[in-house]
Symmetry: C2
């Protein structure tokens, strides 16, 4: 029996699976999972085209799903894994949710929240980038390459 | 017959009516309407408590409603009226929606998007604050006063 190693890489791979599902729907491939006590309580991928809704980013849907699972709106014991650096909308939502930790894969120089001041997240929130960054980035780059 | 004057004040009053509906549900009273060609195509109020969902701000629900009405995700011919200065989440969403114009009532010094740099909105987006500001502000202040 293989013991599952609940590492950041493990959960990022789960987020990448979600991103893959987005790609299959011709959506910009971004995926997210919310983890609480080493358990995935919500999975989501970008659905902005499918739903005709700019608010349907992977992170937003994951937040809503996790809150529904928990029966409360705060995710202060949860970690969100997402394949791409969140935009300001998603960072703002994660901050309202009082998320404990955010782990992202690829950076988003153009649309990411990191360049914004004052910082969107509370100083106590843990933010970590770069997990499986190459794989996460590759997925988005390949998507747009195939579009040309 | 009274001719309706489609002024900013008129539409802000409609947003205030939505805020009133939020207050009646014991939600922080913020309301929004989306206007296209002098017609209100979406109305919404804050439902974060009711839905246990931090993403259920008035603006977010109004964006989703307007996009559903239009059958497309871009609101580039629309104006959003909201009683309170949007937070970064909502500003980010409005930017993704390519909203033409945002008109807000009361400023939100603590949570508003205006203090953030670089600016969240595209330089072409029209932003206007202060419409019926006193009334809009009073509504939120009264809500918290009654909570004590």
């Amino acid at each position: 029996m293989t013991k599952i190693n609940f590492s950041d890489e493990y959960f990022m791979k789960q987020a990448l699976r979600e991103a893959q599902m987005a790609a299959q729907k011709d959506e910009i491939p971004v995926g997210a999972v919310v983890v609480c006590n080493d358990q995935i309580i919500a999975r989501a991928h970008n659905l902005t085209e499918t739903l005709h809704d700019v608010t349907a980013h992977a992170e937003m849907l994951a937040i809503t799903g996790a809150a529904e699972y928990l029966g409360g709106k705060y995710l202060n014991e949860c970690t969100l894994y997402v394949t791409l650096e969140p935009c300001v909308m998603c960072a703002g939502a994660l901050n309202w949710a009082q998320i404990k930790k955010v782990v992202f894969g690829a950076s988003d120089e153009k649309r990411g929240f990191m360049k914004h001041t004052p910082p969107i997240f509370h100083t106590k929130a843990q933010i970590q980038g770069g997990i499986l960054a190459d794989k996460c980035s590759e997925m988005v780059v390949d998507f747009f390459k195939n579009k040309r």
